[in-house]
């Protein structure tokens, strides 16, 4: 039984079910990120945890107490909204303490709590201002302050960083992470940004079309995605997915792939279970960093395989150079060291880290068990 238990929860509007039988158990102190493209149901699920939307069926409980039908104010939760939702007519100080006032906390205690939070978020000098006089980053801090001051069981974040510019977003991301490490409070965070999901979370639920596609640690999600959707949604650039045929040589499963000049090359799998797929088509999943130049290859990997293919495009991105080539008839992206000597139009010797390769069933697009 988790601290925040979502069991068998569905949400329907009329006869359309938008969220299908979601089961997630969150332990106390975890940072769960709900990630997915827009319309996947992640915000709906968050609003149901908050009590802002009704649960069509199933149960949500927090700290052992079933919350179905309980008013948002009685759930001991706090929420940070995408638009910050600061009350425009109140000062920053009044904004932060409004919740305490509504819960009948005496004035002296409110002032003390406000001072603590203002110090923690370094907004002491802003307390007398109105939200209209604040910058985006400052508003964000005030919105966090309003949530923090309540000292809730669970923090809920609804895309809190998506209205900030790129640099500020990265800074605030780090601050939220620091805050979580300091407070150790359970947090549920909704975003469509996979980088935010991977960096912030202790666990991620990847959602698509109202289903939880995969629930796991960032490493599990990244290294062993449950299906092609998760594989391509998480990570940037996306995981390369290319058709391959399984052949077996000396009892070892190999992925037979067509290179850019039409030649067949064979890449040995590390996973033994794939011998059962001999002679059948699969989808091979290769992260861009698993397809690199020989000097940039992971030295700890026991399964680095050479691969010769023609470079079509190179994109220098400062820290890395991204190179496009063709494998199995698809464009694939390789991530090389920044100063790897790669020229568009030339043949290039890539190094493939097959330890990190995954294989998907081409019919169901789910990962083949053990692969």
């Amino acid at each position: 039984m988790g601290f925040l238990e979502i069991s068998n929860v569905t949400k329907s509007y009329g006869s359309t079910e938008v969220l299908h039988r979601v089961d997630i158990a969150v332990e106390e102190g975890e940072f769960l990120v709900l990630v997915g493209p827009s319309g996947c149901g992640k915000s709906t699920l968050l609003n149901m945890i908050a009590g802002l939307e009704e649960i069509s069926s199933g149960d949500i409980s927090i700290n052992g107490r079933v919350m179905n039908g309980v008013h948002p104010a009685q759930r001991n939760i706090a929420m940070v909204f995408q638009s910050y939702a600061l009350y425009p007519n109140m000062t920053v100080g009044q904004n932060i303490t409004f919740g305490l006032e509504m819960h009948g906390v005496p004035r002296a205690e409110r002032a003390a709590a406000l001072a603590d939070v203002a110090k923690l978020l370094q907004i002491e000098t802003l307390l007398e201002r109105k939200p209209g006089q604040l910058s985006g980053g400052q508003r964000q801090r005030v919105a966090m302050g309003r949530a923090l001051v309540r000292n809730p069981d669970v923090f809920l974040f609804d895309e809190p960083l998506s209205n900030l510019d790129a640099k500020l977003r990265v800074d605030m991301r780090t601050e939220i992470k620091k805050l979580h490490e300091k407070l150790k409070t359970t947090m549920v965070y909704v975003t469509h940004d996979q980088i935010e999901a991977l960096t912030l979370s202790t666990r991620i639920a990847v959602m698509y079309e109202g289903h939880v596609q995969q629930l796991g640690t960032p490493k599990e999600i990244y290294d062993t995605p449950a299906n092609v959707f998760v594989a391509t949604f998480m990570g940037s650039p996306a995981m390369n997915i290319l058709p391959a045929r399984v052949v077996v040589r000396d009892g070892r499963a190999m992925a037979q792939v067509t290179t850019s000049d039409g030649a067949q090359t064979e890449l040995p799998f590390s996973q033994q279970t794939l011998t059962a797929w001999e002679g059948r088509e699969i989808l091979l999943g290769l992260r861009p960093e698993a397809l690199t130049d020989p000097d940039g290859a992971d030295r700890k990997s026991a399964n680095i395989v050479p691969l010769r293919s023609r470079i079509e495009v190179t994109e220098a991105a400062g820290s890395d150079t991204f190179v496009t080539t063709t494998l199995g008839g698809r464009d694939v992206i390789a991530r090389l060291r920044a100063d790897a000597e790669a020229t568009a139009g030339d043949m290039f010797d890539f190094a493939v880290n097959m330890e990190k390769a995954v294989a998907f069933d081409p019919q169901s697009e789910t990962r083949i068990p053990g692969a």
């Binding site: 802002l52 948002p72 929420m79 909204f81 919740g99």
Partner: protein, 292 residues
């Protein structure tokens, strides 16, 4: 406000500017002429009007017509002047404006932030009240007022005007609150504020501009209404009906100077509301637009 004007004006040449001001002045004069005639003639003895030029300034200045109109002119069969009717109008218009505005604000709040099944249909039906001609409802309204025991009384008139006005005020507030972010309401719910607390502490403080619009609209309409006043006023007739009785009397000498004074008296409150609240209205709109 000066910086707003600076930012938004285009540079125009001196000649253009003179032309623009001339045209504006001409229009202003055109609109002010009737008022000048009324004011000038209300300050003349009757003989100057009947014997001379309507557009001339008074030769013998007098405020007697104003005093007569206010306290001793013959209204119907009583020589009471307009004073008691002015009081009737005030007693009618203040509660009617207040109640219809508050109801409109609450309706707008519910229709945008506490959505329920069929709310758009309900709103559409409420909009009908803006389009129904007054004459159609006279007889059913009289029946209802009679059954409620409010016929021919000020509370009866207040009820009639509230019922008629609430469609408009709901429209104003609903459209205003529709642009108000719902996330704020949700944040307040999580903070523990209830239905009325959210309305009072979150929505109402930012409702200034639309409240001014609603009050101006309601005040003008209710103060200027003649048909309901004449139909349901009974012994509590409003100013407009009394003014009609004063001006339209078919016996005796037509005291034009008293009529002019009475007409200005009847128009004064709405004029005042426009002058006072109109400035707040513009200020409110400006504050909203600059805030960004």
């Amino acid at each position: 406000m000066s910086h707003v004007t600076q930012d938004s004006t285009l540079r125009t040449s001196r000649a253009n500017r003179v032309l623009i001001y001339l045209v504006l002045l001409l229009f202003a004069l055109f609109y002010l002429l009737p008022f000048f005639v009324m004011l000038a003639n209300s300050l003349k003895p009757l003989s100057e009007i009947t014997g001379g030029n309507m557009l001339a300034l008074p030769r013998d200045w007098t405020i007697t017509p104003w005093l007569t109109a206010w306290s001793s002119a013959q209204i119907g069969i009583e020589p009471t002047g307009l004073r008691p009717y002015f009081l009737n109008s005030i007693l009618m218009v203040v509660p009617a404006v207040a109640i219809s505005t508050v109801l409109g604000a609450l309706n707008g709040y519910v229709l945008t932030k506490w959505r329920f099944r069929g709310d758009t249909i309900l709103f559409g039906l409420m909009m009908f009240s803006c389009f129904i001609p007054f004459q159609i409802v006279l007889i059913p309204m009289a029946t209802v007022l009679g059954k409620l025991g409010l016929a021919g009384s000020i509370p009866g008139l207040v009820l009639v005007h509230v019922v008629y006005g609430v469609g408009f005020t709901t429209l104003y507030y609903r459209n205003y609150y529709a642009a108000f972010p719902t996330e704020l309401i949700r944040a307040a719910m999580i903070d523990g504020a209830g239905f009325f607390r959210i309305f009072w502490r979150i929505l109402l403080p930012v409702s200034g501009p639309i409240t001014v619009v609603s009050v101006i609209w309601q005040f003008t309409n209710i103060w200027n209404d003649f048909l309901f006043g004449a139909s349901f006023g009974g012994t509590a007739q409003p100013m407009t009906v009394a003014l009609n009785n004063l001006v339209q009397s078919s016996t005796g000498v037509k005291e034009y100077n008293v009529h002019f004074a009475g007409a200005i008296l009847a128009a004064l409150p709405t004029l005042l509301v426009y002058v006072v609240a109109g400035r707040f209205f513009v200020r409110g709109l400006m504050a909203g637009s600059v805030k960004g």
